[in-house]
Structure formats: structure tokens, C-alpha cells
Amino acid sequence: MSEAFRGLVRKEFIQVFRDRNMLRIVFAVPIIQLLLFGYVVKLEVKNIRTDVYDFDQTRLSREFVNSTSAGGYFLPTPAETPLLNLESSFQRGSRDMALIIPDGFGKELESRGNITIGLVADGSDANMTAIGTGYMTRMAQKYARDVVGMRMPLNVKYNVLYNPEAESVYFMVPGIVATLLTMVTMMLTAMAIVRERESGTLEQLLVTPISPYTLLAGKVFPFAILGLFEISLALVVGVLWFDIPFVGSPLLLFALSALYLLTTLGMGLFFSTVTSTQQQAMFFAWFFSVFAILTSGFFTPIFNMPQWLQYVTYINPMRFFMNIVRGIMMKGAGLMELLPDIYTLVIFGLVVFTFSAVRFSKRAS
């Protein structure tokens, strides 16, 4: 029996390494995804192109404008379009914000009077608007405090843990690890089984003395190994190339990834039992992946979602794994902290895998 299992695993690896498309999926996809998400997806906002309408033109107003460029968040330039036309530069897409400093800004500031400055933002980029207006508010308050010595009655001293610079890539790489493991193992498993059904080799195997469970193990095991290889690759690139910190225990991450694989391989197995062509299997796996990624908290925090959708996220196993990966990598969470997520994944794994395995072996005998 173990001889049959070894034969199946060896065969599966030969097929993966001989198929160019497979190789692309296994080697190129994780690296490209990392580079794309690492460089392109920036949730932090920098270089906000800002038109400055300075109607004050005093030393203080110029100083304030200069101070906003600190940290690289704003790129203030004197406005070229008249104030009444400021929208046209938004419409052209050449500016993101406009800062309006009223006449008397310097005088009022020196006499510690009440000052209001104006900020107009291009709301078509909601993320930039929300973050940029926040930055500007803080910068104005800081300027008032530092330069003029004006005191706010209530100040917040904050301390951001785990990712003080709010680097997107620190946040993205763990997300990619979870996504890759889900997609690769689920899709490859489903497609590899359906391919055997399409080509008639599965039927040929059913006439041999191999048991459905050996067959199942032999089909699923190679993709578990590939999945763990995928996340290793993603982690190595993340740590060496993007310098992301890895605070927790890599061993724990791999152990819990193996636990999560029970669910993803089970899903792949399930898709293989409800489809008859590789395209169908791919479509199912894609559809599920999109649902899983969107409701996992990868891009948007789950608490931002409407209540009913938050309930839906509980049927998404990736949501719990996402929490585990971020917890271990960024926060150094240990077994005890992650127990609720682990319990959930154990239940998911047992239910999904057992259900699919039974379905598969029923069809196979």
C-alpha cells in the first residue's frame, strides 16, 4: 500500500515539474504576487499633490506650508488655477488636494486668535481623502503647538505597536501567505483530480487494487508539500527582499499552515467531486477564492463591514488563518493567544476534509 502511495506522489511531482503552466503557478505566481502587492498596493498615503492658495503671504503662512511637506505626505505647490476654478485640476487628475490659507492667518496666529484654514480634497479616492485630511489636521495642530506654542486642551499620545511606520508591505506579506496557500492548494488539488477523471486515468486506477483512501492521500499529499513550499518561498522573499519583520515562531506558522491545509485540500477535493472538467474546477476554485479573500480581512478590516457581512465571514476559514498568520508574523502571537482560531480551523478541517473524502471515495468505488 505504501508502495502505491509513493508511486502516486512521485508521479504527481513528475507531472508538476514537467508542466510549464504548473511551474509558473508554483514558482512565478508567489514572487509576482509579492512584488505586485509589495510595491503597488500602498495603503499608506504619500505624495499628496496639494495646491496651496496662500492669501496671507506672511512668514508664518509660508513656514506652515513648508512644514506640511515634512515626512513626504504632502507635495505642496503654489496654485496656478484661480480659486474658483480649483476643481478643474481635480478633474484633470493633476491635484489631489487644495489648501486654502486665509488672509490674516499670521496675524491671528501671533495673537492666538481663532483661525480656520480650508482643505478641499478629491473624494474620488476615498482612502487618500480619509487619510490625507487626518494628516493635515494633525500637522496643523502640531504646527500651532510647536511653532507658536498654542496648546490644545486635550492631546493624544499614541503608540502604534507592531508596525509603527504603518508599512503596507508588512501587512500585505502575511496576507499573501494566507492567500497563496489557500488558492494554490485548493486549485491544484481540484484540477489534478479532475484531470485524471477527464483523461480516464482515474477509471483505470479504480480497477487496480489501490484503495480509495490511498488514492486520495496520494493525490492530496503532493499539493500539501507544494503549498508549504509556496509559503516558504513567499516568506523568504518577504523577509530578505522587503525586510519585513518575522516576530513569532516560524515552526508554529508551518504547523498551523499544515492544519489549515486540511480545509483547503478538502475544498479542492470537494470541487473535484462536483465538476467534470478542469475549467469547471478552476472556476469553482476562483469563485471561492475571491469570496474567501474579500471576507478574510486581507484588504478591508472585518469590523468595517456591515453586520450581516461580518456574520458571513465566520463561514470563511481563511479569515481565521489570516488572523493566525498576521498574529504570528507581526505580533509574535503564540499558541495560547491563537487557540480560538486554532479550534475553529480544527473544526473546519475535520468537517470539510471528512465530508469531501467520503464524497470522493463514494464516487471512487
Binding site: A4, L8, V207
Partner: protein, 303 residues
């Protein structure tokens, strides 16, 4: 007791009766051919024997074991080659053989001697490192047969192994089957080719899920009723139509001429006047012995 027995097997797909009350038995060491056109039900019978289909009624047994309920115990003595090429096209000849070696638990020294043996009769050794997808049709079938023989099965079930294979490779393939028979392997083979029936020990004519006739290749043509003539005339549509107008006659194009069947108890002189009236010279009709195909066609038309 027969090694393989099928009794009153029936299987329908929707309203189509693929197999209809079908029975046959195969003895140890026989080559038994299931002959019939596409869609006759051969594949359904074979897949039932291989435990892949549950029949609506009837039983299929191999070595005294029920093919549906006790199939696990049959597997070790059974080799099966399906109609479509079902090996891994992206694996080489050797890799396919090694894979099936692993599946059947044939390893180490046993595997090496077995592969040497399989290479000897298949002549595939020079192609050992070639991928299965790059093999010719005939070589593919020989590789598939080799994989099915990996565990030295006592019974071999082949579903149209020579369909789409060139005549030379077909002959070589049958030589291998005859060699296996000498070693005591029982073979059930389906085929649409009459010349292959002649090489089997017994054959069964299958049409529309029913058994038309069964017997040795020598005895089967004897089932032909009436007499058969070869008409040495150009087989045009008009000629065939004119001949079929004559009572008690059925004409069919056959190679370069026409085969003319006369119903039982009808002789050529009986229809001579009618033939002459239709414009045929009775001197152009030569009596011939019906062969397997004539017999099959007649049985098929009567059914």
C-alpha cells in the same frame, strides 16, 4: 465452471437499453470476442465486468465472485484496458510502467524482471524514455497492455484495443494476445473488426444490447440462412436498388462487387426470370460461402 459468467445483464441509460438481457460465459484460457458496431453495448458489458457500472438487473461474475459486490477481491487477478488511452501522456514509457508497478506493488527485482519481460514482447524498450503522448497509436496500445499486465493477471479485459490502430500494429497486437493465451491468460476482447474474430476462440455478436449469436469463428458462418452469391457488376446505387426490387433478394455492396443474399428455400433459378427482366445476366452470379460478416449482417437485419 466458467471463469467469467454474465447472466441476464440489463442496463438502460434514460430510455435507451444499452444492454438487454445479455448472457455469456468464458472458460479459463479462452480468447472471447465481443463483436459489434459502435453503440452495440460492448463497452457497457465490459465496464460492468470491471465493476465500473452497476447493472439494472442480472449478474456479472469473475472467478465465482460478483463483479459489483466483491470487486475488491477480483482486482488482483484482473487486467483492464479501457477504450480510450488512459495512461499519463506526460510521463515516459518507463515512468508509466514504474507507476503501475507501484500501484500493483510490483517492486524491486520482481519489477525489473517483469519490465524486461513486458519490453520483450512489446518492443517498446527503444522508446523507454519517450513520453506516452509522442507514441504512435499502436505503441500506445502496447504500452497500455503492458501496464495492464504488470501484475500478471489471470484474466484480461480489453475494450476495442485495436480501434484506430494501423493493420500491421493490429496484427502484432493479436500476436501478443495469442502468446498470452498460451500462458493461460483468459482474454475478453471487444472489437468492431471481423478479421479479429477469426483469431479468437469464441465470439459473440452484439447488436443493440442483445446477443445475436455465439460460437467459434468456424461455426458462426454456418448460422447463415439461405444462399449467397457474388454479383460481378459495378456496385452503383441504381444496380443495388434494381436488385433489391427482386423478391426474396437482398443486395449489399461488398468491396468491388455486390453480395446477393437469397432467402431460405429460394434458389437462383427461382428468381432468374425476374432478374432477367430487371436487366441482369444470371451468368454473372457466382455462389460463394458466407463469411462472418455476411452472417453478422444477416443476423443484424433480422433482429
Amino acid at each position: 465452471m466458467s471463469l467469467v459468467s454474465v447472466e441476464s445483464l440489463s442496463k438502460s441509460y434514460r430510455e435507451i437499453r444499452a444492454v438487454d438481457d445479455f448472457s455469456f460465459a468464458v472458460d479459463q484460457g479462452e480468447i472471447y470476442a465481443l463483436v459489434g458496431p459502435d453503440g452495440a453495448g460492448k463497452t457497457t458489458i465490459i465496464r460492468t465486468l470491471c465493476g465500473l457500472i452497476n447493472p439494472d438487473s442480472g449478474v456479472a461474475m469473475i472467478d465465482g465472485l460478483d463483479c459489483q459486490r466483491k470487486f475488491e477481491s477480483i482486482k488482483p487477478i484482473l487486467g483492464y484496458m479501457p477504450q480510450v488511452f488512459s495512461l499519463y501522456p506526460d510521463l515516459t514509457v518507463t515512468e508509466n510502467l514504474t507507476f503501475y508497478g507501484g500501484i500493483y506493488g510490483v517492486v524491486g527485482e520482481d519489477y525489473r524482471t517483469r519490465v524486461e519481460y513486458l519490453y520483450r514482447f512489446s518492443n517498446l524498450k527503444p522508446f523507454a524514455d519517450r513520453r506516452a503522448q509522442a507514441l504512435s497509436g499502436g505503441m500506445k496500445q502496447k504500452l497500455a497492455l503492458s501496464c495492464a499486465l504488470m501484475h500478471q493477471p489471470r484474466i484480461l479485459i480489453l475494450d476495442e484495443p485495436t480501434t484506430g490502430v494501423d493493420p500491421l500494429s493490429r496484427r502484432q497486437f493479436w500476436e501478443i494476445l495469442l502468446e498470452l493465451k498460451k500462458q493461460g491468460v483468459t482474454i475478453i476482447v471487444s472489437t468492431p473488426y471481423m478479421d479479429e474474430v477469426a483469431r479468437s476462440d469464441r465470439a459473440c455478436f452484439v447488436f443493440k444490447g442483445k446477443k445475436l449469436a455465439e460460437g467459434t469463428p468456424a461455426a458462426l458462418p454456418g448460422l447463415f440462412e439461405g444462399s449467397l452469391y457474388f454479383c460481378d457488376c459495378r456496385p452503383t446505387v441504381q444496380t443495388l436498388e434494381a436488385l433489391n426490387q427482386v423478391s426474396n433478394v437482398q443486395a449489399r455492396r461488398f468491396g468491388g462487387g455486390i453480395h446477393v443474399y437469397l432467402r431460405k428455400d429460394v434458389t437462383l433459378p427461382d428468381i432468374a426470370t425476374e432478374l432477367t427482366r430487371a436487366g441482369f445476366d444470371t451468368g454473372g452470379f457466382r455462389p460463394i460461402r458466407p463469411d462472418l460478416e455476411d452472417c453478422f449482417i444477416q443476423l443484424m437485419e433480422e433482429s
